[in-house]
């Protein structure tokens, strides 16, 4: 995937005819190579989430181009398109399909999903009867088991109680470190350093640096320390 001078502006309405403009991404250019994991770091509101939306072709750009050399990019979203009246099984099917899989593929993976989610017989109950934790476990299991050429992850590496959290994190880490192309947004420098091949630092919508994880992260942390001192 390639981004060339990508600019995204938001418009928020102040009154009937007046709008405020705010530039979320400002002339961003970089390339994502096949099989790599690109970490994205930056302070709150620097445009990280907007960047993922652009890569997933959910948001259009105001200027510049995005070139996809792949067929399928998906944002890792938990509980995508869940309907609380439907059973866990039905929700897993539709959610998996929205994440980009064909129905047959989801059906084949359904047993793995149910097993990973540890929902057992609850899978055939409507999810309105689930606890928040159970819903999160189901959502996570679906997202984990679905395949995508490029996976975009925004801060969701694990969910659930202590036991499940550990299992989920291990599985997700394994998925990221495999040959999968990943763009990972996280506030945890530890995770970013551990999982990324390269790191992109976004600052106020612009690319500050991109390159070796250790180097970029140390620049970023010293920069953040300096600004918090002021």
């Amino acid at each position: 995937m390639q981004l060339r001078d990508v600019t995204v502006r938001y418009k928020s309405r102040r009154s009937f005819f007046r709008h405020d403009h705010y530039t979320a991404l400002d002339g961003v250019s970089f390339t994502i190579k096949e099989g790599e994991t690109l970490g994205v770091i930056g302070a709150n509101g620097c445009g990280k989430s907007t960047l993922l939306m652009v890569l997933a072709n959910i948001y259009g750009v105001d200027e510049g181009d995005v070139i996809w050399h792949c067929r399928h990019v998906s944002l890792l979203s938990l509980a995508l398109g869940f309907d609380i009246e439907l059973t866990g099984r039905d929700n897993a099917i539709i959610s998996g399909m929205f994440l980009g899989a064909r129905k047959q593929t989801v059906l084949e993976k359904l047993d793995e999903i149910i097993e990973f989610s540890e929902l057992d017989e609850f899978i055939d109950k409507p999810i309105k009867t689930y606890s928040a934790g159970m819903r999160a476990r189901l959502g996570f299991s679906i997202a984990l088991k679905m395949q995508s050429e490029v996976l975009l992850i925004d801060e969701v590496l694990s969910v659930g109680d202590e036991n499940f959290k550990h299992k989920a994190e291990t599985a997700m880490t394994h998925k990221i470190s495999s040959n999968q192309t990943v763009v990972l947004v996280s506030h945890s420098m530890l995770q970013i350093e551990k999982l990324s091949n390269r790191v992109l630092w976004l600052h106020e919508g612009k690319v500050k640096t991109i390159g070796d994880p250790k180097k970029v992260i140390s620049e970023y942390t010293s920069f953040m320390d300096k600004t918090s001192d002021h």
């Binding site: 072709n57 959910i58 980009g100």
Partner: protein, 258 residues
């Protein structure tokens, strides 16, 4: 990003079936309501207009049923789809999906339930003692024309509402005006001046209702010229809207998220 059109269709029909399932599971009588709702409405019309307020107009209840049921299908379809893109917020901000998906799911969902309603309506009219003939089969073309019209208008209102959320409030008023202007409760031949009748029939909903009545009450074939014009107009609007959605696809996610 969806891999292919076939995949999108697969998601569409799965979502459609699941929505119907979900809707039914919200009530105790579930699927029975699809039949019960029109049955109750017809019962009310029957008691009010055939028993208490018997106006002496022959078959007035059938006349009302032939107007009210198709009209309700139209108005429900439009009201439901007008907010469909906004309600799809959860999906639109998470996946790249063509936006006509949302109004179309709603329209197909309503159409599916409507087939049950129509079967009930025909049964009621036969039970009431109207003559059935092969001419009745023509009603299929009127139904299909109405379906195309609903698709076209649904796409249009669904496209507008995210830009002007206030538009949604206008729709219920517009539907009230449309009901009064479509001759649900009166016969245009008796109530309107001859020079206004042509204008009245330019309203596609009024025209369709007139066709339902011609077939089911008078055993006459439909007005093919009108049906053809409504079909062509609807298809043209559908094509225009599809192109519009294709061009503006990614703007909706940003519009909704802001």
């Amino acid at each position: 990003m969806f891999i292919s059109k076939a995949h999108l269709l697969e998601v569409f029909f799965t979502k459609l079936v699941f929505n119907l399932k979900s809707e039914a599971s919200k009530t105790h009588l579930s699927y029975v309501w699809w039949l019960l709702e029109p049955a109750l409405m017809v019962a009310v019309l029957y008691f009010v207009f055939a028993v208490f307020l018997d106006t002496g107009v022959p078959n007035f209840v059938v006349f009302l049923v032939c107007g009210k049921i198709p009209f309700l299908w139209f108005s429900k379809g439009i009201v439901h789809s007008s907010n469909s893109i906004m309600e799809g917020r959860g999906l639109i901000t998470q996946v790249s999906i063509p936006k006509p998906f949302f109004p179309m799911v709603v329209v197909f969902q309503d159409a599916f339930k409507q087939t049950v309603v129509f079967i009930f309506m025909f049964a009621f009219i036969i039970f009431y003692g109207m003559d059935v003939s092969w001419v009745w089969l023509n009603v299929i073309f009127v139904i299909l024309t109405q379906f195309l019209l609903i698709c076209a208008i649904a796409l249009l209102v669904a496209a507008i509402t995210p830009y002007f959320p206030d538009f949604n409030l206008l729709i219920s008023t517009a539907m009230m005006a449309l009901m009064l202007g479509s001759g649900v409760f009166y016969s245009y031949k008796d109530m309107l001046l001859p020079e206004h009748q042509q204008l009245f029939l330019m309203n596609p909903v009024a025209n369709l209702i007139n066709n339902y009545r011609m077939i089911l009450m008078d055993n006459m074939p439909p007005d093919w010229t009108s049906l053809g014009s409504i079909c062509l107009g609807s298809i043209a609007l559908i094509v225009v809207m599809m192109r519009y959605f294709k061009k503006t696809d990614t703007t909706y996610a940003r519009l909704i998220a802001q």
